[in-house]
Point group: D2
Amino acid sequence: MIFTSDNVVGASDKVMAGLAVANSGALASYGADPITQRVEAAFDALFERKVTSFLVTTGTAANALAIAAMVPPYAAALCHRESHIIDDECGAPEFFAGGAKLVGIAGTGAKLSARAIAAHLAEEPGGTNHPPFRGISLSQATECGMVHRLDEIRAIAETAHAAGMSLHMDGARFANALLTLGCTPAEMTWKAGVDCLSFGGTKNGCLMAEAVIFFNEKLAEDFKFRRKRAGQTVSKGRLLSAQFEAYLDAGHWLDLAAKANGAATRLSLELAAIPGVRLAWPTEANEVFVILKREVIAALRARGAAFYEWTAKSLAPDDRLAEDEDVVRLVCSFATSSAEVERFIDIVRSNPVQGG
Amino acid sequence: MIFTSDNVVGASDKVMAGLAVANSGALASYGADPITQRVEAAFDALFERKVTSFLVTTGTAANALAIAAMVPPYAAALCHRESHIIDDECGAPEFFAGGAKLVGIAGTGAKLSARAIAAHLAEEPGGTNHPPFRGISLSQATECGMVHRLDEIRAIAETAHAAGMSLHMDGARFANALLTLGCTPAEMTWKAGVDCLSFGGTKNGCLMAEAVIFFNEKLAEDFKFRRKRAGQTVSKGRLLSAQFEAYLDAGHWLDLAAKANGAATRLSLELAAIPGVRLAWPTEANEVFVILKREVIAALRARGAAFYEWTAKSLAPDDRLAEDEDVVRLVCSFATSSAEVERFIDIVRSNPVQGG
Amino acid sequence: MIFTSDNVVGASDKVMAGLAVANSGALASYGADPITQRVEAAFDALFERKVTSFLVTTGTAANALAIAAMVPPYAAALCHRESHIIDDECGAPEFFAGGAKLVGIAGTGAKLSARAIAAHLAEEPGGTNHPPFRGISLSQATECGMVHRLDEIRAIAETAHAAGMSLHMDGARFANALLTLGCTPAEMTWKAGVDCLSFGGTKNGCLMAEAVIFFNEKLAEDFKFRRKRAGQTVSKGRLLSAQFEAYLDAGHWLDLAAKANGAATRLSLELAAIPGVRLAWPTEANEVFVILKREVIAALRARGAAFYEWTAKSLAPDDRLAEDEDVVRLVCSFATSSAEVERFIDIVRSNPVQGG
Amino acid sequence: MIFTSDNVVGASDKVMAGLAVANSGALASYGADPITQRVEAAFDALFERKVTSFLVTTGTAANALAIAAMVPPYAAALCHRESHIIDDECGAPEFFAGGAKLVGIAGTGAKLSARAIAAHLAEEPGGTNHPPFRGISLSQATECGMVHRLDEIRAIAETAHAAGMSLHMDGARFANALLTLGCTPAEMTWKAGVDCLSFGGTKNGCLMAEAVIFFNEKLAEDFKFRRKRAGQTVSKGRLLSAQFEAYLDAGHWLDLAAKANGAATRLSLELAAIPGVRLAWPTEANEVFVILKREVIAALRARGAAFYEWTAKSLAPDDRLAEDEDVVRLVCSFATSSAEVERFIDIVRSNPVQGG
């Protein structure tokens, strides 16, 4: 019953096998290998257009490099105040972007909205006391497991572009969000106005494989230098490209996400049906955020369940925790088993305190 | 006949197998996995003392992070003017160290010497026009394939410490240099006064595994934050730790280096014995730098040999290229075959121009 | 009736005269002039101990350099969410501190409190997702014209030091706050636990003269290099030192602040006595924050009064603006005349809307 | 006999008087004062076109900000290896430009040449190991007191632009160089292809007044934010603008430079006429670099002359110091008196060692 994160499991068998096969023989280094070239073509196909893609090692690096490409050192980016980039990356975006500022705004379920962004911009004083906003970063899915709808992304992109900002999507859980919307990768990104994307593979079946995808060519112009000087240009590039090749092959990445989302959906539905249990936010990807009584949380831990408690800051305005409640985050991965899900539900259900 | 670099081959079979085994099951993320803990213990054993080790993804990141730990943003580090950190990492050390300066000095075979360092320091004007020197970085082996002797390292360390500087060793080819000196890892590092080390695995049999090893605890204090915000804290930490575990197991890393050095030695000895051929610098690790006539170089390429030409800037003061000569770099890896070596030698030997 | 800021007037006659006298003759450059040395001694005398002082050109530079001296690039500083450093300096602290983070917290009247700081620290998750806090910056007086009491500063300093943080005081209006507390400069700074201070002269009678004063010697160690590389080491150092010499001579600086505070006090008392008018925050230095009806604000502007409207975010929790009200900031300087004050009061008093 | 620098004297009487007059009354802050607007118009007139000008406090800040505007953090700038920006500003350009690299090249008299630049660029390896060059900075006059001719500047600008680089001119001694060329400010800058200029006032009669002038509008776009976050936006802007207004008025700045150049010319001519004395480089502005015997240098010092010895690195290729010689730098300012010059010459002339 490990629900701490989707990064506690290794790679899928298919990804691992792809890596093993690619290991043999001599290949050009620093991303000039043929596998990387095939992966670049795969990204073009995936997004139904020519894109510029760069493989990097971590999601933090992908996000921070993308933000640095959008936002000059004297400028700022808007994001949700609980977004990963502002709250979980130890200042990486500020570092990569040379001291640029991140400004966090509020929103239920860690979602951004065009309205909240416009309201924030309307209060800007002008002059030079504030750095100018040049970028917006939204997370898809969000830190609270919610998914921005296509029209929401489009509205955010329009607001961004009208104000001279570029739009970045942190897609650490891109596949999980995509399945929920039932749309194409193109629709969820450039067709909705996204300028660049952190395309995550690690949380959904790779060991370590992330890509920065540019739909706005101008932002990509000097990115190869940024990646190199960030220590993200891998010498044996096949390590990253071979994982991606297997990951993207024949819809494997979507199959993996479907398993994770399925486990989360089941967990969510059955937990929400237990009297006294409610969801903090709707389950829209592979993460369940459920409000439980502290005693139940203790019982779960005592019986071997692993998970994190979560901040309630982004609850809907009319929602509130009771004194004896906490929010709990349950992350499912492609490897989450039915048995784990069932056992977790059983413990909650059987607990008299909660059930009361 | 691929002699372009030791990073054109994948991982050794043993390393790859270790990675495959470590892939299964759930493990704590961000380096809290038991394999990482075993690797940390292995480094303690290797260096015969408690060290603080951090796994990172690339040599550039290892070097740049180590230099940032030694040198504050308003200060400077000394290195050889052809060192990898100043000449091949696209400004990564300056970036990671917040704009700190690298100052390169000369030396035959890309070696640093205590004397050259002291001479440079003696010319410093004082005042605040120059940033203060806080670190020295030496490469072991150097960019010209040479190895600093223990007494040379000790003298450099003494000069560094006497002037308030820390000493970093770029050990991208640590194993290759170690075999040449025939000493222990402890002797080549902290016993000689090295404060921190980039311990390379990638070039010598891993797919991607580098470590920053601190012998000076003070420098390691906040390093975990530096690594995180540099996007170098890998979520599925087993990727790095499993490679290192296999790499360090039962002397595997030294076996690999012995193969690479052996191939280089043979290549070097046989080439140097050919009339008209001479070495640019002595072959002291797994790289051969040989001076060939341009016609011979063309013939080698025509017959399928791959390699780079190299700068002659660090030739010994009394050495010089003839008009029709160039320096060629030949890098051997653990996977370099005898057949490749023999074929290369045959082409040079059979060439009437060179032989003349 | 110019109440926009205390930086709209030039230098006091005495300061200007001092500058003119110092202009003649040859003097050593870059702060090695005898006037600078006398100013350094004057700061020692002022603070009743040896301090390390550095003259710089602007308050932004003073603050940003001081924060950089406290907070390494991978760390963070706490401050009030409306503080000048986080909200009015276009990211200067983040730039000077190499990408370090500023984190703003709430507090009535833009004051920090040990309790609010402790509460914030208590919620820190540990690990490396957040950069470690290494500094706190408080403004004396605050952006809302309030003054931290000695016991409040001491409590903040204790909280800071207990958590491994240094304490910086932004003293852009140091003299104004000092008069209010009726204590010595030593009591308001190092005796209360302040580690470094931005000592402002510009707003209170100089043309441009700011100093960074270190009570904690360790922080001052390499500051001369930081100042130089920030372009803040002035070649004709007498420009800054001569202003400070006149400013500090015979209590001139306190005389100037007394005039400014006196004007503000009078303005505040008389405005608050007008029916329907109330203060946003108590007037504790040279700034009055008064809540006026929008019609009255318009009338003031129509009759030539100049001032800024201000955010009401830091009102006391039980206070709130009415629909037709706004907060107005009125800054008095040493040059504010009684006539200006009286005319302003008359307009408000005579206005039937407000008076109602 | 103070020849250490042109920054050891205060402001000219006219500049000081202008400052005193501007001190009285209330003026808008942060550069919105009418004097600043008049100075901006004066720069337009001076350069015979619309320029974008920003007043800043120090030459280091002017240079570092200008370079940051040209060169992104992941890129590099070329300059002479003895230029002020690379050798005397404690890493300020690297700091302001976010870790960008400065690369220094050689040239007699600290001059850059299109040929040397082109030769350097021709050796660039391509790929991403080196950051891309985006700017060139030349000093006018140079660190060795020489002046680039108009055709030389044009050739450098052409080389720069052809390679995608902008051209910056460090004009700390702009007026001195301009007089030597006998051309217009427009001819020495934008008409020759200069993109941005550090226009120095401090060394030539101001107390502290520098400007960054942009001829290439694109580089100026966001410069106001850069200046603000660098702590270079002065609140009482009249301090800088009033100095510049007096400095530029009725050719005052050229009168001052003429005095400085005249003193240097006389010193140079008479020294060079003394047997055994020779110039290190021709005297082309207000600095004399003369090669003297060490005994003579000691005698000068013993009799009260103040000056610095200088590096001989940029002597012409066929020139060389004798064992007992050193280069001495003598800087004349607008305040250098004939008496000082004569006395210096007398000491050299009367010295038997030199005269021998």
